[in-house]
C-alpha cells in the first residue's frame, strides 16, 4: 500500500518537473535570443524588394517579437500555477510549510536560474503590483468579508490599525535613528525622516501575507477578523505616513502645520476612500437592478465597478484598498438579490481564481526580486530591524489590548493577543513601497534589503511556526458548522429580542442602531437597488430558499435523494396525531391522476428526450419510490395556489418577462439539475394531510403542462383569476433562486437536452 501511494505522486512529480524544465528551458533561451530573431524578421521582408534576391516563401517562420510580451506573461502565470499544483501533490509538504513560503523559494530558484543564464531577472514592478496584482486579492477579501464579526469589532480593529501602525512606525523609526547615531554602525548619513519613512513602510501588516497564512490555520472568527481587518484598514495610515514622510524627507524640515496637515490628510484619505468606494458600490447595485435581460455580463459589472473604485481613489491618492473593500461590502447585499445564481457562482469563482493567481505571482516575484534587487547589507541594521519589528508589535498589541479591553464586552484573552501579535506578517506591499522609493535616498538599497529580510522572516519563521503554536496553545479554532435553519431562526430571534430588551432598558445601543439601519435600508435603499419585489423578502426566507436550493443541487449531484435524512423521519413523525394522514385510497387516486397526466404529457415530450424527467415518465412511474411520490405530491399540493397564480400570470402577462417562453426556462432548469418539480425542491418529505379540496385533476394538470411546453403553448387555460402581481412576485423570486440567463443567450450544457 505505501509503495503504491508513493509511486503515484512520485510519477506525477517527475512528470511535473520534466514539464517545468521544458517550459523554462524553452522560455528562457527564447527570451535571450529574441534580439537575434528580431533583426532577421524586420529587415528581411521590407528590404527584399530593393535587393531583388528572391527568397523562398517562408513556410515556417518564427516571429517571437510579435508575441513576446503576452507570451512571457502567460508563461509566468503558467509556471506559478504549475508550482501551486505541484505543492498540493506532495501532501506532507503542504501540511508543514505554508504555500507562501514554498512559492518564495520557487521564486528564489527561478531568479537564481535566470541569473545563472546571464539574463536580468525581472523585479516586481510596483506599477504592476499595485494596479494588477493587488486589487483582485483585496476585492476577494472585501466582497466576502464576514460582516457581522467585522462590525461588532470595528472599534477594536480601527484602534489596532490606526494607533497600532502609528506606534510601530514611530517606535521603530525612532529607535533605528538612535541606532544610526551610534558610531560603530557606520550609518551616520541616515536622518530621522528617512528612518521614519522606513518605519512607516515596514510597520504595516500585510493583507496578502495574512490571508495566505491564516487561511490554512482555521483560527477562530474573532482573532481572524481582528488581524485581517487590521491589515486591510491600515492601508490608509500607511498611505498617509508614506506620502507624508516622503514629502518631508524632500524638504528636510517639519513644522507643526505640516503635522496638523498630516492628520487632516489622514482623515481625507480614509474617508475619501470610503466615500469613493460607497459611490461605486451603489452604482454597481443600481446597475445590477436592470441586468435581468443580460445575465451573462452581470459578473463583469461587479468586477469593473470595483476596479474603477480602486483606480479612482488611487488617482486622488486616497486609500484604494479601503475604497475597494467598501465597494464590495456595499454592493454585495443588493447585487446578490438581483443577479442570477449562475452569476453569483461566476463572481465567486472568478474572484477566488484571480486572487489565487495574484497571490501566487506575488510570492514568486518576491523571490525573484530578492535575487535580482540591488542589495546593501548591514548586519546591525537588518538584525535590529527584524527584532524591533517583533518587539514593537508585541508591545503595541499588549498595550492596546489593555486599553481596549476596558471597553469590550468580550475581552481579548492572552492567547488571542498572542496570535494577533504573532500574526502580524509583513509582505509584498512593504516591498513595493520600498521599491517605489526614489533613488535619491542613499539608503534605498539598505532599506530594501532590510525590508526583504523582515518579509522573509515573518513569512518563513512566523508563517511556519504559527500553526504548531496554535495547536500547542490550544487556541480556539473556527467552528465548522453547516448552515442550520434553527440557528438562523434563532439568530433573527435573538436580534429582535436584544433590540427589544435594549428598548426596555432605554438604552440606544448596538442593536438599536442596527435595527434602525435595517429599517432605513428596507424602506428606502432596497427599494431603489433591488429589482422587482424582492426587496420585501426578509432574510430568513432568503436563507431558507438558499438552503433548499443548495440541498436540491446536492441531491442532484449525488444522483439520489438527500442523504441528510437517511432515516425515515418525515412530516408524519412530527405532525400531531390528531390530524389524519392521507388515506391509501387518496394516494391511489392521486397516483392515477398523475399517471394519466403523464400520458398526455408524454406525447408532447416525445420528440424531446429528457432523460431525467422520471416523474412524468409513465414507464418509470411505477419505479418511482414511495418517498419520491409522496414528496412530489406534497410539493404539488403545497404549491397549488402558487401555481394557479403563476398560471394566470403566464397567460395574461405577455413578453414583458425576461423570456418569451417561460416554459422553456423552467424546463431548462430542470434538465440542468434534474429537479423534479418546477420550483425549488423541498428536502422535507412533506406529507401534509391533504385538505380535502385541493388535489384535483385540474390543479395537477395545471402543474404538468407548464414544464415541457417548448412551443410556448401552455396547455389548458385554467388560469384562475388571481392576482398577477402575486404570480409575478413568485415568478421573480423563483427566477432569482433558480434562474439562468435568457434563453437565447446561453446554450451551454442545455444543448444535449434541448434541440431548440
Amino acid at each position: 500500500m505505501p509503495a503504491f501511494s508513493c509511486a503515484f505522486p512520485g510519477c506525477r512529480r517527475d512528470l511535473l518537473v520534466i514539464v517545468l524544465v521544458v517550459f523554462v528551458g524553452i522560455g528562457l533561451p527564447i527570451e535571450a535570443s529574441a534580439p537575434a530573431y528580431q533583426s532577421h524578421g524586420t529587415e528581411g521582408s521590407y528590404l527584399t524588394n530593393v535587393t531583388n534576391t528572391k527568397k523562398a516563401f517562408p513556410v515556417l517562420a518564427v516571429n517571437y517579437k510579435h508575441v513576446r510580451q503576452p507570451f512571457e506573461i502567460a508563461l509566468w502565470i503558467l509556471l506559478a500555477l504549475l508550482m501551486k499544483l505541484g505543492f498540493h501533490l506532495i501532501p506532507r509538504l503542504s501540511g508543514v510549510v505554508p504555500e507562501s513560503c514554498l512559492l518564495i523559494v520557487v521564486g528564489l530558484l527561478v531568479g537564481g536560474l535566470i541569473k545563472v543564464i546571464g539574463e536580468e531577472p525581472p523585479v516586481l514592478d510596483s506599477q504592476l503590483f499595485f494596479l494588477c496584482l493587488l486589487p483582485p486579492i483585496i476585492l476577494d477579501a472585501g466582497y466576502f468579508l464576514p460582516i457581522r464579526p467585522f462590525t461588532e469589532n470595528v472599534g477594536t480593529i480601527l484602534v489596532f490599525a490606526v494607533i497600532g501602525t502609528l506606534w510601530n512606525t514611530f517606535f521603530m523609526g525612532g529607535l533605528l535613528y538612535a541606532l544610526c547615531q551610534i558610531e560603530s554602525v557606520g550609518l551616520g548619513g541616515v536622518d530621522l525622516l528617512a528612518c521614519l519613512l522606513f518605519g512607516s513602510i515596514v510597520s504595516a501588516v500585510d493583507p496578502v501575507a495574512v490571508l495566505a497564512v491564516f487561511e490554512e490555520i482555521h483560527i477562530n472568527e474573532l482573532v481572524h477578523i481582528l488581524v485581517f481587518g487590521e491589515s486591510l484598514l491600515n492601508d490608509a495610515v500607511t498611505v498617509v505616513l508614506y506620502n507624508l514622510f516622503e514629502e518631508f524627507a524632500k524638504v528636510g524640515t517639519v513644522t507643526v502645520l505640516d503635522v496638523f496637515l498630516g492628520v487632516v490628510c489622514f482623515f481625507v484619505v480614509s474617508l475619501g476612500g470610503v466615500l469613493v468606494g460607497a459611490i461605486y458600490g451603489f452604482l454597481a447595485a443600481f446597475t445590477s437592478r436592470f441586468t435581468s435581460h443580460t445575465r451573462v455580463i452581470e459578473p463583469l459589472f461587479v468586477f469593473l465597478y470595483s476596479y474603477m473604485a480602486y483606480l479612482s481613489s488611487e488617482m486622488f491618492h486616497l486609500s484604494g484598498i479601503m475604497a475597494l473593500i467598501v465597494c464590495g461590502v456595499v454592493m454585495r447585499p443588493y447585487v446578490e438579490a438581483n443577479i442570477s445564481h449562475k452569476s453569483y457562482t461566476t463572481i465567486k469563482y472568478f474572484l477566488k481564481m484571480w486572487s489565487s493567481v495574484s497571490e501566487t505571482l506575488i510570492f514568486i516575484f518576491l523571490g525573484v526580486s530578492t535575487v535580482a534587487g540591488p542589495h546593501a547589507w548591514n548586519w546591525t541594521f537588518v538584525i535590529t530591524t527584524v527584532i524591533l519589528c517583533l518587539v514593537s508589535r508585541v508591545l503595541g498589541v499588549i498595550g492596546l489590548t489593555f486599553i481596549i479591553n476596558k471597553f469590550r464586552i468580550v475581552k481579548l484573552t492572552k492567547k488571542d493577543q498572542f496570535i494577533v501579535a504573532y500574526g502580524g506578517l509583513r509582505g509584498a506591499i512593504a516591498f513595493s513601497l520600498g521599491y517605489l522609493l526614489s533613488n535619491r535616498h542613499q539608503m534605498r538599497n539598505l532599506f530594501l534589503t532590510a525590508i526583504i529580510t523582515v518579509i522573509f522572516f515573518t513569512v518563513f519563521v512566523q508563517g511556519m511556526t504559527i500553526r504548531p503554536l496554535v495547536e500547542l496553545l490550544a487556541v480556539k479554532k473556527k467552528k465548522e458548522s453547516k448552515p442550520s435553519i434553527n440557528e438562523e431562526i434563532h439568530t433573527e430571534f435573538l436580534n429582535h429580542l436584544l433590540t427589544g430588551v435594549e428598548g426596555v432598558c432605554g438604552h440606544y445601543g448596538h442593536y438599536h442602531w442596527k435595527e434602525k439601519l435595517n429599517r432605513f435600508n428596507k424602506t428606502y435603499v432596497k427599494r431603489w437597488l433591488i429589482a422587482g419585489e424582492n426587496f420585501k423578502e426578509p432574510e430568513l426566507i432568503a436563507f431558507y430558499r438558499k438552503m433548499e436550493l443548495k440541498q436540491a443541487i446536492m441531491m442532484v449531484e449525488s444522483g439520489q435523494l438527500p442523504s441528510a435524512l437517511p432515516s425515515t423521519i418525515s412530516m408524519q413523525n412530527i405532525q400531531p396525531r390528531a390530524i389524519p394522514r392521507v388515506s391509501k385510497k387518496r394516494e391511489e387516486e392521486i397516483r392515477r391522476i398523475l399517471r394519466s397526466n403523464l400520458q398526455n404529457n408524454k406525447q408532447k415530450m416525445r420528440s424531446r428526450s429528457y432523460s431525467r424527467h422520471t416523474l412524468f415518465d409513465a414507464d418509470e412511474e411505477d419505479n418511482v419510490s414511495e418517498v419520491r411520490l409522496r414528496k412530489t405530491k406534497m410539493e404539488m399540493e403545497r404549491r397549488v395556489s402558487v401555481m394557479e397564480r403563476r398560471m394566470s400570470h403566464y397567460l395574461t402577462v405577455p413578453a414583458n418577462r425576461e423570456s418569451p417562453r417561460p416554459g422553456v426556462r423552467r424546463v431548462r432548469f430542470e434538465s440542468d439539475n434534474q429537479v423534479f418539480s418546477a420550483d425549488s425542491v423541498p428536502t422535507v418529505h412533506f406529507e401534509q394531510p391533504s385538505p380535502p379540496s385541493t388535489p384535483d385533476a385540474v390543479s395537477l394538470e395545471e402543474e404538468v403542462p407548464k414544464r415541457p411546453s417548448l412551443e410556448a403553448d401552455i396547455e389548458g387555460p385554467r388560469g384562475n383569476a388571481s392576482d398577477n402581481h402575486q404570480g409575478e412576485l413568485d415568478y421573480q423570486r423563483l427566477a432569482r433562486c433558480l434562474s439562468d440567463p435568457g434563453p437565447n443567450k446561453d446554450k451551454e450544457e442545455d444543448d444535449p437536452f434541448m434541440s431548440c
Partner: protein
C-alpha cells in the same frame, strides 16, 4: 445613587448585587429605569412595558413583554404568569442578559449558557409543558416573519416544519414511520444550538457600566 434612595434601599441593593452579580451602580441605573417605566410606582404592569415606543416595530414584541411576566424566568420553580412585577423581579429577568465575565471556568460557562438558553426556551414554550411542539414553533416563526406580509406567512409554516425536521433528525436520528416526535425538549434545544455561541451574543451592553460611562443609556 440618587437622592431618592434611603439607606434601607441601599442595603437591599447590596443584597441584590450579591445575589445577581450586578454592581451597585448597575442596579442603581436599572432601578432608575424601572421607576421611569412604572411611573414611580412599586410595580410594573404589562401596559407599562407595552407603552415603550422602542418596542413598536419589534415583531416579537408580545413575547418579549410576556417574558418579563413569566414566572419561570423569575427563578421561581413555578409556572404561569404574573400580572405585575416588582423591581426585584425586573432585575431577575435582566440577569439573563449579563455578559460573560472573564475567566469563567468551563462549568460556569456551561451554566451561563444553560441559563440563557433556558430563557429562550421559555419564550418559545408558551404552554409551559417543557417541550416546544410544532404548533408553538410555527407560531415563533410566524411572529418573526409577521412583518413580511403574506409571503411570510406561507413560508413560515414551511420553515418551521423544516426546522423541526432538522431538530428531529439531529436528536433522534432514525425513527419509525409511526413514531411520533413530541417536541423539542430542553436537552434537544441545547443540542441543536450547540455551536451557537450564545454566551457572547446574548447580552445587553447597557449593563456593562463598570468602565467610564460611555453612555448612561437613558432615553429622556
Amino acid at each position: 445613587m440618587g437622592a431618592s434612595q434611603s439607606a434601607g434601599t441601599e442595603h437591599e441593593f447590596q443584597d441584590m448585587a450579591d445575589r445577581t452579580g450586578f454592581s451597585l451602580e448597575q442596579i442603581g441605573n436599572i432601578n432608575k429605569r424601572f421607576r421611569q417605566l412604572s411611573n414611580n410606582e412599586e410595580t410594573l404592569s404589562r401596559e407599562d412595558l407595552a407603552s415603550i415606543p422602542a418596542l413598536d416595530n419589534n415583531p416579537i414584541r408580545a413575547q418579549i413583554i410576556n417574558a418579563f411576566f413569566d414566572k419561570r424566568n423569575l427563578h421561581q420553580n413555578e409556572t404561569g404568569t404574573v400580572q405585575e412585577i416588582g423591581f426585584e423581579e425586573f432585575l431577575m429577568v435582566m440577569t439573563h442578559f449579563r455578559p460573560a465575565a472573564m475567566g469563567l471556568t468551563e462549568e460556569e460557562r456551561e451554566n451561563l449558557r444553560r441559563e440563557k438558553l433556558r430563557f429562550l426556551f421559555n419564550m418559545h414554550d408558551t404552554d409551559s409543558d417543557g417541550t416546544i411542539n410544532l404548533e408553538e414553533y410555527r407560531r415563533v416563526v410566524e411572529e418573526l416573519l409577521s412583518k413580511a406580509g403574506t409571503i411570510g406567512q406561507e413560508t413560515a409554516k414551511a420553515i418551521a416544519d423544516a426546522a423541526m425536521l432538522e431538530v428531529a433528525s439531529t436528536t433522534r436520528g432514525k425513527m419509525e414511520p409511526d413514531e411520533f416526535y413530541e417536541g423539542i425538549t430542553f436537552e434537544n434545544f441545547l443540542q441543536i444550538l450547540n455551536t451557537f455561541d450564545i454566551e457572547t451574543r446574548m447580552h445587553v451592553r447597557f449593563l456593562n457600566m463598570d468602565t467610564a460611562t460611555l453612555r448612561c443609556g437613558k432615553s429622556k
